[in-house]
């Protein structure tokens, strides 16, 4: 009898052993603290861990080329009117399109001409503008331009919305000179703008501005999980795009940035550039700059001209001085090529 009891105990012990082996096997995981494999050499030869507060990978340029967008201006098809004025005609089509806002992160956007921001439309003060707007989206849209125009061209109230499949011709004078916006004004407004229906509307003064390397920077953000907060911030839609592909400029070259903030959900956005200062012209309507600074704040819909030169060659960061936005994608670099001699890599 005693012997059998021992057998029983052995049973349990053996079972327990097998069970614990199975358990240990099933749950055993590899070394959690494997050291990082790639390091960089920093100041004084210090090895740096590869911390990078940035996205991984790159976007598909075929969907949207943010480098091309940066410096591309649509000036329309130009013809002369009998009275000598210039007529500029543009075609803008509203379509639904999935865009890539960070590598691998897709966003079902509502777009003008299949891109977010929409095409940068540009004219000269006094031109007659005709925009052939075709709504090929699946709900009513409109184009609402900032500037002088009659009520029928405002594209804002219900009866001015263009139904799906519908066409409308917006006609007005390019006025006043400055850097402006156009956007959809259908309701719910936040959604129509946030989903991508906005773009630059630039009116050059009759007397041309000084020659410069010109670019557009639209400060935007994307709430991808519908919590009324932006997960992704960017300049020109793609998080960290110009950090991954720095903007190439030259030392002492005059740069003119058309800057606008269309970001939803946040009160303010900002623009800050390293190692130089800039002239800031709010809305670009006055000949004299309001400010000489390296940081400017814009509310939603606010825009302005930034004119700057880099005194030294090298790589310089520009970003929102709201660091949260910068860390969520609104950060980039200028690569300043030396006017002569090698660049300071500092």
């Amino acid at each position: 009898m005693m012997k059998r009891r021992i057998h029983f105990g052995i049973w349990i012990l053996a079972g327990g052993l097998i069970l614990s082996l199975a358990l240990a096997y099933a749950t055993f995981l590899p070394d959690p603290a494997a050291p990082p494999t790639d390091t960089e050499v920093g100041l004084d030869g210090m090895l740096l861990r590869p911390y990078r507060g940035m996205t991984v990978g790159d976007v598909n340029k075929d969907l949207f080329d943010a480098d091309a967008y940066l410096t591309h201006f649509e000036t329309g098809s130009v013809s002369l009117l009998p009275d000598g004025r210039t007529l500029r005609e543009f075609v803008v089509v509203a379509v639904n399109k999935e865009i890539e806002i960070a590598p691998g992160v897709m966003f079902p956007a509502w777009t003008y001409n299949g891109q977010v921001p929409g095409p940068t439309l540009r004219a000269t003060d006094g031109d007659l503008i005709r925009i052939y707007f075709k709504n090929r989206g699946d709900r009513p849209h409109s184009m609402h331009f900032h500037g002088f125009h009659p009520a029928s061209m405002d594209g804002a109230v219900l009866k001015q919305l263009v139904p799906p499949g519908g066409d409308f011709v917006y006609e007005f004078n390019a006025d006043p000179a400055g850097v402006h916006l156009y956007h959809c004004h259908a309701t719910p407004l936040t959604q129509h703008i946030h989903n991508g229906l906005y773009g630059f509307w630039i009116v050059d003064p009759k007397e041309a501005r000084a020659p410069a390397k010109e670019m557009v920077m639209m400060l935007n953000g994307f709430d991808t999980n519908f919590d009324e907060e932006n997960e992704v911030y960017a300049v020109n839609t793609i998080a960290f795009h110009y950090a991954r592909h720095p903007i190439k400029v030259r030392q002492h070259e005059l740069l003119r940035i058309y800057l606008a903030n269309i970001t939803e959900f946040d009160f303010l956005n900002s623009f800050h550039v390293h190692a130089t200062f800039f002239d800031y012209y709010p809305t670009g309507t006055q000949p004299e700059p309001r400010d000489f600074t390296d940081t400017v704040i814009q509310g939603q819909g606010e825009r302005g001209l930034v004119e700057l030169k880099f005194p030294y060659p090298g790589r310089y960061m520009f970003h929102a001085h709201k660091t949260e936005f910068a860390e969520r994608g609104w950060m980039g670099f200028f690569d300043v090529e030396a006017a002569e001699g090698p660049a300071d890599e500092g």
């Binding site: 009898m1 059998r4 009891r5 029983f8 105990g9 349990i12 327990g16 614990s20 358990l23 240990a24 099933a26 749950t27 055993f28 995981l29 070394d31 959690p32 603290a33 494997a34 050291p35 990082p36 861990r49 590869p50 911390y51 990078r52 507060g53 940035m54 996205t55 991984v56 806002i101 960070a102 590598p103 691998g104 992160v105 897709m106 966003f107 994307f222 991808t224 999980n225 997960e231 992704v232 998080a239 960290f240 949260e324 860390e327 969520r328 994608g329």
Partner: protein, 388 residues
């Protein structure tokens, strides 16, 4: 009587299965399933199973707990996009696991919120409540967590068993009381284990059907032990019923303590628990009553010291194993299964002890008092270990 050809019966039995198979094939090919899948975004669901922290590195072990393949496109740490790797692949099929490795200069003792960002822009948040380096299973850590198990499991149970000579002297009336006390203690442990199990079950992604797993462990163990119990009792030479119950009780409590060890070990590593002297003292008091439960069934016959030691080790030492598993390789799935097994084992012991009495006996005032006191002892000492 009609002809009952067995082949016809078999064919008739298989008919619905064949039809079901055909229908599934049809639906998958072109049937109404299209009606439901067209234009509907995939259901993405990512669940973080655990985190592991090393020097300047955060690892997350994740599983796709949704019904569709899901891609982890980006990762944010404290609201900032952060570079990382996902092995073996960013795209996870349903129930597939992967490891996200983020090189991040985390600070000891701070909480971290990590967001996994899918292809469609959905965010899955995971909170590291307190960042602490995950211990590696080296000799020092094994010893440390092993000692933890000894303190909160082995020693208390052994201390409880030391009441054996005293309890032997009390006599038959006392015996009945203590058996009821044992039932009270065990009822508390079952409730405690079920509560712990359900807590883990709801934390798991729905696809795991945590409650089902828990119940499987519970029912399976209950049945096996019932079988073992009758087998042992039905043997011609007949093992003493009290001895069988004592071993089964020790096993049940051992499995319960394994779950407790898991909870303590992982809570310590996850930084949810600071193991002060008070808490260890609490466990000692709380678990020493388990020793009484184990020896109560053999009070009548007595037992050799060797057997008492064996019983004590069976009940107490799983705590050590639990602490190790909890500290080094905590897995909610395994924890849940073991909690289920523990609950089943405890339930079985209760049924066996209670089954030996008539219902009227159990409800006799003295016995009922024993049952309640047993429960209250556990309840009272439970306050000392509220955190675990």
């Amino acid at each position: 009587m009609k002809d009952r050809n067995p082949l016809t019966t078999l064919a008739l039995g298989l008919l619905p299965l064949v039809l079901l198979g055909l229908m599934i094939g049809l639906i998958l090919r072109q049937g109404p399933a299209k009606l439901f899948t067209e234009d509907i975004p995939p259901v993405e669901d990512i669940h973080v199973l655990q985190h592991l922290l090393g020097e300047d590195v955060i690892h997350l072990d994740i599983v796709n707990s949704g019904a569709d393949p899901t891609t982890v496109a980006q990762v944010m740490v404290r609201g900032a996009f952060w570079q990382h790797t996902v092995t073996p692949d960013r795209t996870l099929n349903p129930l597939q696991t992967a490891r996200v490795t983020i090189h991040y200069p985390w600070v000891d003792g701070e909480p971290y919120q990590i967001v996994l960002y899918t292809r469609s822009g959905l965010t899955f948040e995971y909170e590291i409540e307190v960042a602490l380096t995950t211990p590696l299973p080296d000799a020092k850590a094994l010893l440390r967590f092993g000692m933890l198990g000894v303190y909160v499991g082995v020693i208390p149970v052994a201390l409880g068993i030391c009441w054996f000579p005293f309890l032997r002297r009390i006599g038959t009336g006392g015996l009945s009381f203590f058996l009821n006390l044992t039932v009270g203690l065990l009822v508390f442990l079952v409730v405690d284990t079920v509560e712990e199990g359900l807590k883990v079950a709801v934390e798991l992604p729905e696809v795991y059907n945590g409650v089902g797993l828990f119940l499987l462990g519970l029912a399976g163990t209950y049945l096996i032990l019932m079988g073992v119990n009758s087998w042992a009792r039905a043997r011609p030479s007949g093992i003493d019923a009290g001895v069988v119950i004592a071993w089964l009780t020790a096993l049940g409590i051992g499995l319960h303590n394994l779950g407790e060890g898991l909870a303590i070990g992982s809570a310590y590593v996850l930084g949810e628990l600071s193991l002060g002297a008070m808490l260890i003292l609490g466990f000692t008091l709380h678990n020493s009553t388990e020793g009484i439960a184990i020896v109560a069934p053999i009070l009548e016959k007595g037992a050799a010291v060797k057997r008492l030691i064996g019983l004590g080790l069976l009940a107490g030492s799983p705590t050590i194993l639990g602490c190790w598993i909890g500290a080094f390789t905590y897995s909610q799935i395994w924890a849940l299964l073991f909690l289920g097994i523990g609950a089943g084992a405890l339930l079985q012991v209760i049924v066996v002890i209670a089954g030996r009495k008539k219902p009227s006996e159990i409800l006799a005032p003295a016995n009922l008092a024993g049952l309640l006191i047993g429960y209250l002892i556990m309840y009272g000492t439970g306050f000392l270990v509220g955190a675990a």
